[in-house]
């Protein structure tokens, strides 16, 4: 379809493992956002890309989290040495520009760290 696509939809891993989550935004959308949503909470901002560069990464909780968008389209969120507290739904959103534009969300990647 033409929406935001996230893979995998579900990921179960063991504590200490490395995880990659992928986001394929809507074609032509220059802005891409990563959010994390814990059960019963609102989305928590992680990082925002404008094109290939991270315009704001202030929401990344620590240096175990890293995200890239090398060609200004697909983005990968990388989590090293996963901890049980990393368990959450990771949401990706894209928008045509930034500011007041609508965010189009994917269905999320549910990460469970055992």
């Amino acid at each position: 379809g033409a929406g935001v696509s996230q893979t995998p939809s579900n990921k179960v891993t063991e504590k200490g493992k490395y995880v990659e989550l992928r986001c394929d935004p809507i074609s032509g959308h220059t802005a891409l956002y990563w959010y994390r949503q814990s059960l019963g909470q609102g989305p928590e901002f992680l990082i925002y890309f404008q094109g290939t560069g991270a315009a704001d990464d202030s929401g990344l909780p620590n240096d175990r989290f890293f995200a890239v968008r090398p060609e200004g389209s697909v983005s990968t969120l990388k989590i090293q040495r996963t901890e049980r507290g990393d368990s959450a739904v990771y949401l990706c959103a894209s928008s045509f520009g930034w500011g007041t534009g609508e965010l189009f969300f994917g269905e999320g990647s549910r990460l469970t760290v055992l």
Binding site: V4, Y33, Y35, G40, Q41, G42, P43, E44, F45, Y48, Q50, A55, D56, S58, G59, L91, A93, W98, G99, T100, E102, L103, F104, F105, G106, E107, G108
Partner: protein, 111 residues
């Protein structure tokens, strides 16, 4: 970091009733959005408000942006079971150039 609060946290009502949910902050936002999220899906935009005092209507939903652009409300008339979901407000943070979300109001409309 600008923060948003939402109230009530949970709301369970009967079909046909009216309700209002609130979104508040101590900070000024240049714009504020309301999203609705269903289980297993990402949030979907309902409305964007930009001007202080602005009122927007979307069928049975009425959205208002406070005069000072620090708060907003969502009023639903004659709620239906299909309105059930998590209602999120999101403010555009001018400093960080990102959208800050509130914790949401979980609405359940019983038939």
């Amino acid at each position: 970091t600008q923060l948003l609060e939402q109230s009530p946290q949970f709301l369970s009502i009967q079909e046909g009733e009216n309700l209002t949910v609130y979104c508040n902050s101590s900070s000024v936002f240049s714009s504020l959005q309301w999203y609705r999220q269903e289980p297993g899906e990402g949030p979907v935009l309902l409305v964007t408000v930009v001007t202080g005092g602005e009122v927007k209507k979307l069928k049975r939903l009425t959205f208002q942006f406070g005069d000072a652009r620090k708060d907003s409300s969502l009023h639903i008339t004659a709620a239906q079971p299909g309105d059930t979901g998590l209602y999120l407000c999101a403010g555009y943070d001018n400093y960080g150039q990102n959208f800050v979300f509130g914790p949401g109001t979980r609405l359940s409309v019983l038939p």
